[in-house]
Subunit: 240 residues, 4 copies
Amino acid sequence: MDMFEISVTGEFERWYGEAHARPDLLGKFAYGLPEFFRDEIKSAKLVAAPGCYPTSVILALAPLLRADMIDRSRGIVSDSKSGVSGAGKEPSSRTHFVSVADNLSAYSVFGHRHTGEILEQLHLAASELIFTPHLLPIPRGILSTIYVHLAQPTCPSDVQSCFREFYAGSRWVRIFPSPQLPQIQFSLNTNYCDIGFCLADDGQRLVLVSCIDNLLKGAAGQAVQNMNLMYGWSEEAGLN
Amino acid sequence: MDMFEISVTGEFERWYGEAHARPDLLGKFAYGLPEFFRDEIKSAKLVAAPGCYPTSVILALAPLLRADMIDRSRGIVSDSKSGVSGAGKEPSSRTHFVSVADNLSAYSVFGHRHTGEILEQLHLAASELIFTPHLLPIPRGILSTIYVHLAQPTCPSDVQSCFREFYAGSRWVRIFPSPQLPQIQFSLNTNYCDIGFCLADDGQRLVLVSCIDNLLKGAAGQAVQNMNLMYGWSEEAGLN
Amino acid sequence: MDMFEISVTGEFERWYGEAHARPDLLGKFAYGLPEFFRDEIKSAKLVAAPGCYPTSVILALAPLLRADMIDRSRGIVSDSKSGVSGAGKEPSSRTHFVSVADNLSAYSVFGHRHTGEILEQLHLAASELIFTPHLLPIPRGILSTIYVHLAQPTCPSDVQSCFREFYAGSRWVRIFPSPQLPQIQFSLNTNYCDIGFCLADDGQRLVLVSCIDNLLKGAAGQAVQNMNLMYGWSEEAGLN
Amino acid sequence: MDMFEISVTGEFERWYGEAHARPDLLGKFAYGLPEFFRDEIKSAKLVAAPGCYPTSVILALAPLLRADMIDRSRGIVSDSKSGVSGAGKEPSSRTHFVSVADNLSAYSVFGHRHTGEILEQLHLAASELIFTPHLLPIPRGILSTIYVHLAQPTCPSDVQSCFREFYAGSRWVRIFPSPQLPQIQFSLNTNYCDIGFCLADDGQRLVLVSCIDNLLKGAAGQAVQNMNLMYGWSEEAGLN
């Protein structure tokens, strides 16, 4: 997977609706997902912090995509749900307690900004992914339920091996033994990304579940993880 | 109990921090608590809607105060808790979901505006009541836990009789048989004010619990109840 | 669409793990979804109450399936989320407040009992649908986010027309004008099933969102609606 | 303040409704509230872990009681609110999500077991304290709002000094500058007991607010704090 190089003239404006403020710097950033760009981050002067949703989606999909196990022509669906802190601390009618409590809503269907980031990092075409965010009545935490079709009938242990090998050296990713699935509570207040899956009897229809704490692995925790790499410190420092 | 006549020069400014916009109208309002001012409301042109907290506190205390059963010199405490809709729909950092969820906070201790309204309606001196509001992590509902000292040792059935008789003709007040206590859920989405109590073995220390839905009996529901009276309709109309 | 006739020897046992207690009665039930079986219900002696999840999924998918607008070979995904009352009132560690609050979890992936009911009513093969239920930290309400691929490029107004015509005589289904989407709060404490959708630029990838109150349209409300039909009363009686 | 010595023949049975299993051991326990019994705990072989409610109430009241600043004859009220984990992990209809969410309830009025523990540690007579617990719709955290009448008119700075001096060497108690008040969120996931207060203009009516995380300072955190003392380690070890 290459370093993050969002195209100046095209993708950024499409998803953010405005020109990038510093296009001259774009090529100089490493994409700060240490599980994929550890070496680039270690030698980078500038690191771009991944979005919270992309962290949960990319970490779940990349191992299978890299191994060419997914039939992209069937389409990928990421049905993602986030706690309210993901919407920022700015007060609005949307983040008012009474709007959120006892509720669930989908938003920005086909148009959320993080879609571009996910597509780019996973080398997917826009037609290959539907990403639907939802606002959960909880303060923090993201759970993405991801639907893919495997190219060949596969057994669960091969899916598991793919993940385990990919993340063998990654302290902050936990792979759950199928059919156990992560829940948001398990990763709250930690820097973990938890990944689990269920495979249909046909060995092809696969449901992935990925959980993070959006304020840690999805934001500040991952920033510390990147800083640790940039300064040559242990990737765990300050995160236990 | 007299009709609501807040003194123009004094009490309003003390609690609201500004001059009243229409002091000329003050004497022309009936206080819209039908359980006490049914006759006044029926003949009134203008009715002042009670605050949500005062509705829960006044309905619980008035029967005992009227019957002179409370030793005011011992002081009365109303520890009141409200859902977030009581704070209005204006977005603010205080009503942001992340500020409210998983939290509880006391606010405006000794200074909440509704204190003046409670004191006036109950003919209490400021030194005789402590009213402490709290913000609950729920959308709606108020529960007031009220602590009083009875003037004479009393048995629970006499307390109960006092309430039952006082509210005999009041459709929208429910008295719970001690030691059963109302909960916020019981009155949600209804126009009821639910009142229960527990009396200590000494027959004097009394804990009252009063619950309303702040958007109904504490606001719109009570307004409909008043309108029904003003138009000569059934007090239940539109509220079942 | 035919009346509900679950095969005695096969499907029931597959999803419920035990023999049906009264196979002799199976053929005598109407499936109690009035929007599809109004005539059958009117003349039925026995009506089977639909599950809560199936109500939300079937009402969103049936119009498009009937009109042959969906490419079934691409697969259908229903990512459904339910409040806790859907799990019943039996206390368990799973429904304990501390397990549910600040959490979200997927469960029964590929194996939830309601899958069989959805497949049967929609005449789908098991391979054509993935249904994934999730437990939301709210007391009640269901939101299903449903992903389908249309057989032909279509414009949003044609999708909307399909729904509007199908539900023209149905008092308890509300179709939202795209891109407005229903939220759980909108249907709470009502008997409505709210349906909205977003269509991708390609005119084929379609996201449907369907919301109900699982205790009303998903249970007791729908039962009343059925009773109204059986007795020849207005379909609205007791539900406003 | 003396070491914890619950009377074998009386108080325990009164509050727990059964005989103590090991009355022979009662006199050998130190009461594990390090802020009061640091020396006793250091030399103790057995330490009794305080209840969660008593921790929040005793820490707020003891400094003022020791300094004889409270008029006990006026009575003390502790209106305490706890998250659901305080009720234990046993599933029950009372801890079912649907019973707790969107709700608030008072319980065990005049009869909660922790009352005996509070009375004993504070050397109060039963007639001098009303302790009312409430069940909050949150997973964890306790807030106690405590009402006392000071023996003499006092200024806020003297109240503050009383607390600051009393807890000068206590790492895990934070005194808020009046009129700032602690909230449950501030102490969550910490071992702190946060204490704040508001004093009426008369200098006598005092409202105290005390917050802890019932699973840390109210349980496991305090146990670690005690263990640290018993082993001669830093009182902070493992708690930062």
